[in-house]
Symmetry: C2
Subunit: 102 residues, 2 copies
DNA sequence: AAACATATATAAGATATCCTATATTATGAT
DNA sequence: ATCATAATATAGGATATCTTATATATGTTT
């Protein structure tokens, strides 16, 4: 993890993956890079692929093999999950953001 | 937890407690109520007090007994932690918010 | 074809969060 | 004083995240 200041914010990885996939289909490597760019720390393969597998098992994403890559797409169920999770996030922490962003 | 849609967002509790205390000193019950109001689900005593203890051990908050209540205050170290964590949160998830809030 | 690089996958385990259930302490009411 | 209530605390455990390390598969280069 990154911030060791009393709160590690774990549990956000799957959500962030889903959110990225709601914008655009992409493979695992690209997902890791996108997250790395935002967090300042690129998740290891052993972190990202188990998370993707979990999302697949839950029916929130699908994976389509293309050469040596697997391109992941969000499903309808996944889109609904993103909507719900985003609403929860905004309801719970919105004020922290609106304050922190200015 | 609340959202069972592929991401449980655990790890945010301590941060949210710290953030609340950065606004105003308060006791454990009030903290639980404030979080409950935002999340839609009030944390149980067995959740909130161990978290507060952890924050105390880490030197991020202090507790002052007042009758049967304990009033918690954020420390200087705690303020720095909130600043750092908020910056990380905004950097990592800011776009999700700015989009989700409109 | 052989060697190398890239992308994905899995196993095993350390760590942390959060919960249920129960106990303790202090206040208020009768 | 006794009883009920409110606030805090702790023990023990279930669950999930994330990591390290290793393995597999595909593609590229020589």
């Amino acid at each position: 993890m990154q911030t060791r200041t009393g709160c590690d914010m774990r549990g956000m990885l799957s959500f962030q993956i889903l959110w990225l996939l709601s914008k655009e289909k992409m493979n695992g490597e690209k997902i890791a890079e996108e997250i790395g760019r935002r967090r300042g720390d690129k998740p290891k393969p052993g972190t990202i692929y188990p998370a993707l597998k979990e999302l697949k098992v839950s029916g929130l994403v699908t994976g389509k093999k293309d050469g040596r890559e697997v391109v992941y797409s969000i499903t309808g169920k996944g889109k609904a999950a993103v909507r719900e999770a985003t609403a929860y996030l905004c309801r719970s922490f919105g004020e922290i953001f609106t304050e922190g962003m200015k």
